[in-house]
Amino acid sequence: MVVQELLLLGIYKEISCCGLHSIAALMHSFACICLQIDMDTIEVSNLNRQFLFRQSHVGQSKAKVARDAVLRFRPHISITPYHANVKDSNFNVDFFKQFNVILNGLDNLDARRHVNRLCLAAEVPLVESGTTGFLGQVTVHVKGKTECYECQPKPAPKTYPVCTITSTPSKFVHCVVWAKDLLFAKLFGDKNQDNDLNVRSNDAARSSKNADDVFEWGENEDIEQYGRRIYDHVFGYNIEQALSNEETWKNRNKPRPIYCRDVLPDIMTQRNGNNVDKTDDLSSASAMASLGLKNPQDIWCLMENTKVFIEALKLFFTNRRKEIGNLSFDKDDLLAVEFVTAAANIRAASFNIPLQSLFEAKGIAGNIVHAVATTNAIVAGLIVIEAIKVLKKDTESYRMTYCLEHPSKKMLLMPVEPFEPNKSCCVCSETPLSLEINTHRSKLWDFVEKIVKAKLGMNSPLIMHATALLYEVGDDLEEDEIANYNANLEKVLSELPSPVTGGTMLTVEDLQQEFTCNIHIKHREEFDEEKEPDGMVLSGWTQALPEKKDAKTSNGNGASTSKSLPTKPGNTEIDTEVKEISDGTVSPGTKRKLSEFSDGSPVDHSSDVDETRNNKKIQKHDDEDELVMLDHWDSDMSKKQRLP
């Protein structure tokens, strides 16, 4: 009897719940030692699918409770729970080397990339997985044999240009971002943080001091007066200011200013006595409750939204004064969700965008991903099947399996043979990248935050320019070293001790991930504010057309794949969390657009309802045998089915 060790990484949110039990059940012929890492605690909304947990477990560590649950039906296996973040430095390459296989069900791109790199460094096979609603996938990654998790660049979380949010929203999601990241943050968050709330489209001066004072609550100001004043300022005055700039509105629908007195003529007196003596239950204050609005799925009219806005603001200031100045938006904070919903709706009304219910707004603001028990059960089963193949080293049988919502060629599960490693993958093939940047304007800090951390997914980077160490992170640094690095962060690239100008090369490393990347710097003066808001463009991480390992069709199941064209079925990577959702496609009722197939017959596929209408993500037609080359064979490819 061979002792096989399995490492189970991640999150019981969805998959590992089933995964653990399946593994426990199936591995009866192996003495199984499992470790599990999960930093989450159990929440009520988990209970519709994470069946190892009960109501009584809410608040406890997922890793621990899951382990206890499994031991109950498999008492003799060894499971060690770690209630920790997988990015902790203890989980280093040596730690990973202990295991025969890693099973990953994490819910964010960053952590997944981190794990991918560790698996590559430790040379341990990785079985990756994810689900969203009815969709899911399981993929196998073995160094040298298959693509690594990052060979196909994953879609970056959607962000919106600042001016769209501050001045020219055209979709409800823009209003939500405004309400959450600007207004809510301004009123209830850290006052010292930069805030673009008062920025107008062509206003060069960002937060001017005078403008900020408007948001301060006056000494003896009546709280409802304060609320109305804020309302009038952001929905009335600010809009009027924006309208005065004719240029902006030449080709756009003009917003209309909304003033409180027009919507809600009378000051709201205490209604139905509900909130008069609510001093006992401070933490559960709710504007909806005190206004008698019962159903979160209702779409409130402008007047109701206005009432909620003012009432919520009131409740924050009367019942939760201490928190103000430190609050950040939390989707489980009902009052915060109510406020953001109301504010977003009023702004939407102003810009002639359809209003949404609290339920919808909450989903958008909280980046909530829909989830159900069945998909997770299916994917869990698939994970185990792949894990068994990996443990048996049955390389020819490894498959990437995609779980679809609607059958394609009469199949709900699409197995695809893994592709060979991408020769231009900067992670597993160590190809160098190029960066266009203004070396006289951008600071090292910008480079570290936007490129090294955000795009390259490094956590503890080390940056070198030839032999000069420009920046590093570590526990064992001396004070003067830290001071030196901090000083470097503030300098523009061309003025660093070892000047970084066009034509030079930077080497960026993350020691924990054992990942090194060389970046060629190209100087560029100007960047488009809307299309390149970061002011820098990273390239070179392209998707090579992967060669299939051999020309045979996959699996003989009828999921035929063409010899020369790379194909991925209907939906490829589905991350269970994306930082900003695109276009509010969360709700069940939302529909996506049908686009044209080049020869005139409409094709069933979903593409983003995108302003640029640039999406020609033409895919395999369900009933046709021919496959079509995708227009954009780049990082956009894998967001064929972009899900919230």
Binding site: A25, L47, F51, G600, R613
Partner: protein
């Protein structure tokens, strides 16, 4: 719903209130609670199904412990139905859970009317002859039936359901239907009010693509005896005509028109599927007819009268931007 059901929040975002209500009204009967049946029911229970009744005559044996996590050592020797039911009840106390310790085959033979009380029967690991009998029983009683069997890494699932109507199917894709191949009178008039060849370049590039298509389609029809482009060559020619209408390279409205030109190529009138439905005998409705057929009857009348051979336009409330 009176208060936010936080527990179901994530799945409500998939199937909405309607779906959740349907689930909560359903009563399920499970025949045989081995791994397949238990796993199936588990997912329904987690989702908040109304009630479940587990029917299994066997006792828990040691061999069951390795493949069904709803039973543990303490269950050995007890009724499997009872143990599984207890476990499932723990998963969601909002679900009404019952069990009957009896072999499903026997029940099928002795008490067929038993099944009429359920919305759905899930029959697992049944032998063929029992399946056939059960199928007949359920059809007559108008009960939905799903069969499942699994063997190692293979298995099958089979539905046995009579004709049923799905209203509000929430399709993933929709064609924003402006009926450009047969525009309604107000749209026609609107298009007529606009001159495609307007001299001002700004106005020219702001003509809505819908108007461009309506007008160009009309011109084409005039030149082709009332017909719209239908062959590959004609469609190509039409697109070329659109292109020729551009006066500058950056005219997005013309590009949009070209991209959307397929809307003009769509054949007029209703599809053959729709024809079949409205001419079905069920569309002659009476007081017994289901909601679905009543709606079909109304649709039929519309098509014949106001519609002039076309179905009503699909309504959407966010497409104001088309007329920007």
């Amino acid at each position: 719903m009176a208060e936010p059901k936080t527990k179901y929040d994530r799945q409500l975002r998939i199937w909405g209130e309607q779906g959740q209500t349907a689930l909560e009204k359903a009563s399920i009967c499970l025949l045989n609670c081995g791994p397949t049946g238990s796993e199936t029911l588990k997912n329904l229970v987690l989702g908040g199904v109304g009630s479940i009744t587990v029917i299994d005559g066997s006792k828990v044996e040691l061999g069951d412990l390795g493949n069904n996590f709803m039973v543990d050592e303490s269950c050995v020797g007890q009724s499997k139905a009872k143990c599984v039911c207890t476990f499932l009840q723990e998963l969601n106390d909002a679900v009404k859970a019952k069990f009957i310790e009896e072999y499903p085959e026997a029940l099928v033979d002795s008490n067929p009317s038993f099944f009429s009380q359920f919305t759905l029967v899930v029959a697992t690991q049944l032998a063929e002859d029992s399946m056939m009998k059960l199928d007949k029983i359920c059809r007559e009683a108008n009960v939905l039936l799903i069969f499942a069997r699994s063997y190692g890494l293979t298995g099958f699932v089979r539905n046995s359901v009579k004709e049923h109507a799905v209203i509000e199917s929430k399709p993933d894709h929709f064609l924003d239907d402006l009926r450009l191949n047969n525009p309604w009178s107000e749209l026609k008039r609107f298009a007529e009010s606009i001159d495609l060849k307007v001299p001002d370049p700004v106005a020219h590039k702001h003509t809505p693509y819908v108007v461009i298509l309506v007008k160009m389609a009309e011109e084409w029809a005039k030149a082709h005896g009332g017909a719209l482009p239908s062959t590959r060559d004609e469609k190509k020619e039409f697109k070329e005509l659109l292109k020729a209408g551009m006066v500058a390279m950056d005219e997005d409205n013309y590009k949009e028109a070209i991209e959307a030109s397929f809307k003009v190529f769509a054949p007029r009138g209703i599809s053959s599927d729709l024809q079949q439905i409205i001419h079905d005998s069920c569309s002659e409705v009476d007081s017994n007819s289901s909601d679905f057929w009543v709606m079909v009857a109304a649709l039929k009348e519309f098509i014949v009268n106001e519609g002039g051979g076309e179905a009503p336009l699909e309504g959407f409330n966010t497409r104001y931007d088309i007329f920007n």
